[in-house]
């Protein structure tokens, strides 16, 4: 059969295969590294500042958001993202990057119509579906709690 007769399928032999195994490995280690760093930081915050666990967790998130925003501004985080894929996308750092990168990108259109309106362009979906899923789970949790 000719390539043009079944193009969308036949063309696949020309398309480079993503290296799933290697990509998963990189994502696992980078994502894991970020989590380990978070845990170390949390323990340090508890030890040094004698904070409660829940407060220390918030501090860790804040620190990570700050660091990611800095790395995004310095033009480093997109390179980490290209290397690590989901590893650097799934943790809070990925969300912070999506906001910071969109804000940076649109600062040329001003602080209101540029930065403020576009900041959630990429990350907005996470918030919308985060809230929706949380609501649904909340309802389920409530029903189970009432029934059993």
């Amino acid at each position: 059969m000719k390539l043009r007769d079944n193009y969308q399928e036949a063309v696949k032999i020309f398309q480079p295969k993503p290296s799933y195994f290697l990509n998963s490995l990189k994502a696992f280690f980078v994502g894991g590294l970020i989590c380990v760093a978070g845990q170390v930081l949390q323990n340090l915050y508890i030890e040094i500042f004698t904070l409660h666990v829940s407060v220390a967790q918030q501090m860790v998130l804040g620190t990570f958001i700050l660091l990611t925003t800095l790395l995004t501004g310095m033009g480093v985080y997109d390179k980490i993202g290209q290397f690590a894929g989901a590893g650097s996308m799934i943790p809070i750092t990925g969300f912070a990057n999506s906001l910071a990168s969109a804000a940076l990108e649109h600062r040329s259109e001003g602080v209101v119509l540029g930065i403020a309106s576009n900041m959630f362009k990429v990350g907005g979906a996470v918030i919308v579906y985060g809230v929706v899923i949380a609501y649904i789970l909340g309802v389920i949790h409530y029903l189970f709690w009432k029934l059993f």
């Binding site: 000719k2 390539l3 043009r4 193009y7 969308q8 063309v11 020309f14 398309q15 480079p16 993503p18 990509n23 995004t72 501004g73 033009g75 985080y77 997109d78 980490i80 993202g81 290209q82 690590a84 894929g85 989901a86 650097s88 996308m89 990925g94 990057n97 999506s98 910071a100 990168s101 969109a102 940076l104 990108e105 649109h106 040329s108 362009k121 990429v122």
Partner: protein, 338 residues
């Protein structure tokens, strides 16, 4: 009749490329053709405040250098034909705002370079103009933000993605004898083989390139051997082998005389995924590099086929596929003028 076959124009009067100029950004300067471009910038901002202004700076530079090389003032030009990748063709329109010349804005995505050149040559050949200035530009950051994600977004791109060339090319077409003659052009049809992935535009554009090249051979009754080089715009590492296979199935063997601008502009160790793309890709490689090769005598006759993916993010989100188009122009060295 200047229309030969179905889609090919033969320029019966002698139409020449009087002058060309190129301006590029940092990655292109670092690439293997870096020294052959007229204006180079060490950073993506090109001394401007925004990416859009930077792209405009590139096109402005290309236009100015082109006029300087031709030893002409802008008022000597009859028409200005230009286009770029941005919505409403803002780069071309805003450059034209500063030029006191009638203006035709054109959009053919990355095929715009040869679209403007083919139409310019037709205007000159038909006597509708004495001198026509053409220009195209693209900028990596403006394209990223319009078609993909914010530039600093940390998403992972697949190997099939292309890297938009930062640069601009300008060409002046006239009847004044020069080293290069524009002899024919084939205007492409919009072709869509149902590719949906905007991160694999090589596969989307290869059928359009194959359609235009095949039609060109049929219209002029020529074959690949009649050209020293057949150059495609930005099919990249994915689309180039697909094009060769599609043409092989039609009985045309491109073999060693096919090159792709997207694979020529960057070194293989530069992080550009499958290769370069964008309006500027075919323009700067053709005007900056290929014409120099023709000048040296390494090439006599080339067929430049600029390929454009008519991509719109909105259409992709509405589950549409990516239509593509390709326009080709034949450039020949004028004997005795080398």
């Amino acid at each position: 009749m200047k229309l030969v076959g179905k889609q090919t124009w033969i320029y019966e009067n002698e139409v020449y490329l009087q002058a060309v100029a190129t301006a590029v950004g940092p990655m292109e300067t670092e690439g293997p053709l870096g020294e052959q471009f007229d204006v180079t910038y060490p950073d993506l901002y090109c001394g401007e405040d925004t990416w859009e202004l930077a792209e405009r700076r590139l096109m402005k530079d290309a236009v100015q250098v082109c006029l300087t090389k031709a030893k002409l003032e802008i008022n000597d030009v009859d028409f200005f034909l230009a286009g770029d990748l941005l919505n409403q063709n803002v780069t071309a329109n805003y450059i034209a705002r500063d030029l006191p010349v009638p203006f035709l804005c054109m959009f053919g995505a990355c095929s715009t370079s040869m679209e403007t050149l083919a139409v310019a040559a037709a205007l000159v050949d038909g006597g509708f103009a004495r001198r026509v200035l053409t220009a195209t530009s693209s900028h990596n950051a403006t394209a990223e933000r319009q078609f993909r994600y914010p530039t600093e977004f940390g998403g992972q791109k697949p190997k099939s993605a292309t890297f938009t060339v930062t640069g601009a090319g300008a060409a002046l077409v006239s009847r004044e004898k020069s080293k290069f003659r524009i002899t024919a052009a084939t205007i492409g049809k919009v072709v869509d083989f149902g590719i949906h992935n905007p991160l694999d535009m090589g596969a989307a554009m290869a059928p359009a390139a194959a359609s235009t090249i095949r039609q060109h051979f049929q219209d002029l009754k020529t074959s690949p051997e009649d050209y020293d080089l057949i150059v495609t715009g930005d099919l990249s590492g994915v689309g180039s082998p697909i094009l060769r296979e599609l043409l092989r199935e039609e009985g045309y063997e491109l073999a060693d005389n096919h090159r792709d601008c997207g694979l020529m502009i960057y070194r293989t160790d530069q992080e550009v995924f499958a290769g370069g793309s964008g309006c500027a890709c075919s323009a700067v490689v053709t005007y900056g590099h290929l014409l120099k090769e023709m000048e040296k005598g390494n090439l006599q006759k080339i067929f430049v086929v600029a390929t454009g993916a008519l991509l719109s993010p909105t259409m992709i989100w509405q589950n549409e596929s990516i239509p593509a188009i390709a326009h080709g122009v034949v450039l020949e060295v004028v004997k005795g003028e080398r």
